[in-house]
Structures are given as structure tokens and as C-alpha cells.
Point group: C2
DNA sequence: ATAAACCTTAGAGTATGGTTTAAGGTCAAG
DNA sequence: CTTGACCTTAAACCATACTCTAAGGTTTAT
């Protein structure tokens, strides 16, 4: 499979696949005489693995760690995978909390502003930002 | 007030204040003979405005738009401020949804993995990433 | 007088996850 | 045999929001 084929099969652009290679995430199993990248079926699985990992919110670095486990399962233990997942879960929960806090503040601002065509002289959004604690 | 004083009063680092100036967010009202920046009380209010705006999740560009309204209220209308707030609110709600989706997926992965010291051969986290739809 | 603390600038570096460009080599169809 | 599709590389660029560095000028306290 050439890079263009993998692009179609995996939904990851050729550009990005080359970038992933440079980042050590996915090396093609072979290079042809013309130096073209050749990907195996296992490489396709890896590409999809990366895609799912990203969909879970894992960074490329974290994905890299997960891939290391996947690639050599017998040399790794469940605890490692669970720790990575646990950390990400916490991180995401913290992000959600921050965003919920913002959402609440913004909802109030949004609610109290009339949103009309009148001068912003007494706009509650602007005053809240000027004078909030 | 010199930049160090504003740093203390506003809680925004001098570095960042200079960066904000370069970005057009907060220009000191004067420069001394020695070219030092001199900030007024109004500048302090503006600095705090920026800080609150950031705390609401507004980007520097959005903060800049809000500042333009604040600075010249009579030339702006509520509708403008409300539109900016509305967009941000939507954006944040979308982010929360994405994160909630990730959280759900991760929670399942986390729940099913034993997390023990046994080989990752049959780790549910790794297999889910390998074989998920 | 001299040292510490503060100020100035332009520009480079950091982090993330790519995207784009330039300049060119290879392959398959008509 | 040429045209267009596809492949190669290194390196620059994008966005965001800083953060730091280098090299130097100023103020203040002792
Ligand atoms: Zn109004
Ligand atoms: Zn309003
Ligand atoms: Zn297990
Ligand atoms: Zn496991």
C-alpha cells in the first residue's frame, strides 16, 4: 500500500502520515527501490489505532506510549495502559469543569444583556467585565 | 504607575503586558522622558477587564473587540457584545460536548481494564483502540 | 559610588499538531 | 513520448498566547 492508499484507507492525510513518521508514530514497514513508502496491513491497523487514540483525546505523545504497549504487549502491563487512561480522564474532567465555569459566567452575561440596537453605554456584559470582582 | 506596579496590581506579568501592548490590547497612556511606560488608573481597569475577559474564555482577538466596545461605548450597541458572547457560549458548549464524549469513551476503557501487573496481552484498553469501529 | 532593582528593545524560543512550499523524481495511460 | 497523477525531501509557515534572551539604559538605596 502506498501512502495515497493508506490515506484513503485510514482517513489520515498523506501529509500527516509523513508527519507521524517523523514523530516516530508510524514507520512504513518498507521502502521501495524508488524510495516510496510501502505500508502493510499491520500499518493500517496502527494508523487506525492512532486515529481512535486521538478521538479519545490522547496527545501524540500519549498515543506514542499506547502504541509502544500495543507493539510489544508482553513487555507491558495493564497498569501502564490504565495509568495513561486515568490521567487523561482526570485531565478531561478538569477541562470540563473549567469550561462549565465559563459557561455559567457567560450564560449570565448573555442572559442579562438586552442585545438590542441601543448604545452599549449600559451594556451589562461590558460593565460586568469592567467591574466584576 | 510603572509596568512593575501594574504587574502587581493587575496580576499580569510585565512580559505579558508588553506583549498585550504589541498586540494592540493595552497601550500605556504615557511614556516618560526615559521612555518608561506609565499606566493610569484607567489602564489598570483595562488590564483587569482583559483578565476577566480571558477568564470567561475569550481569546485575545475577542477581548480586543470587547475592549473596543468598552472604550467607545456610545459608538457600539448591545447587539455587538451579545453576539460575541453568544458565539463564545456556543463554542464552549461544543467543546464541552466533545469532551463529554471523550470522557464517556475513556470511562469505559478505564472501567474494563483490570490495571494489574499482568501482561498487556489482553488489555481491554489496547484491544479497544486496535479494534474499535 | 556602586550594587540591586527596574526599565528598554528586537527577536528568538516554547508547545501542539499539523499545513504548505519549493524543487524535483517516478509511474501509468493514451 | 508526453501529460498528469503520484511520490520524495527539508524547511518554512500557521495559530495561540505567551516566555525568555541578549544587550543595554535608569533609578534608588546604602
Ligand atoms: Zn442593552
Ligand atoms: Zn448589553
Ligand atoms: Zn488486565
Ligand atoms: Zn488493561
Amino acid at each position: 500500500m502506498k501512502i495515497g492508499d493508506l490515506e484513503k484507507q485510514s482517513g489520515i492525510s498523506a501529509h500527516t502520515l509523513r508527519y507521524y513518521e517523523k514523530s516516530g508514530l508510524l514507520k512504513p514497514s518498507k521502502r521501495g527501490d524508488n524510495n516510496y513508502r510501502h505500508y502493510s496491513n499491520e500499518d493500517l491497523i496502527t494508523a487506525k489505532f492512532i486515529k481512535r487514540s486521538k478521538a479519545c483525546g490522547f496527545s501524540l505523545a500519549e498515543t506514542s506510549s499506547l502504541l509502544a504497549i500495543k507493539t510489544d504487549k508482553s513487555q507491558h502491563v495493564c497498569a501502564e495502559a490504565k495509568a495513561i487512561t486515568h490521567n487523561k480522564l482526570q485531565e478531561i474532567e478538569e477541562q470540563i469543569q473549567r469550561l462549565e465555569q465559563m459557561k455559567e459566567t457567560l450564560s449570565k452575561l448573555h442572559h442579562y444583556c438586552c442585545g438590542g440596537q441601543e448604545s452599549a453605554e449600559f451594556c451589562s456584559i461590558i460593565s460586568a467585565l469592567e467591574e466584576g470582582e
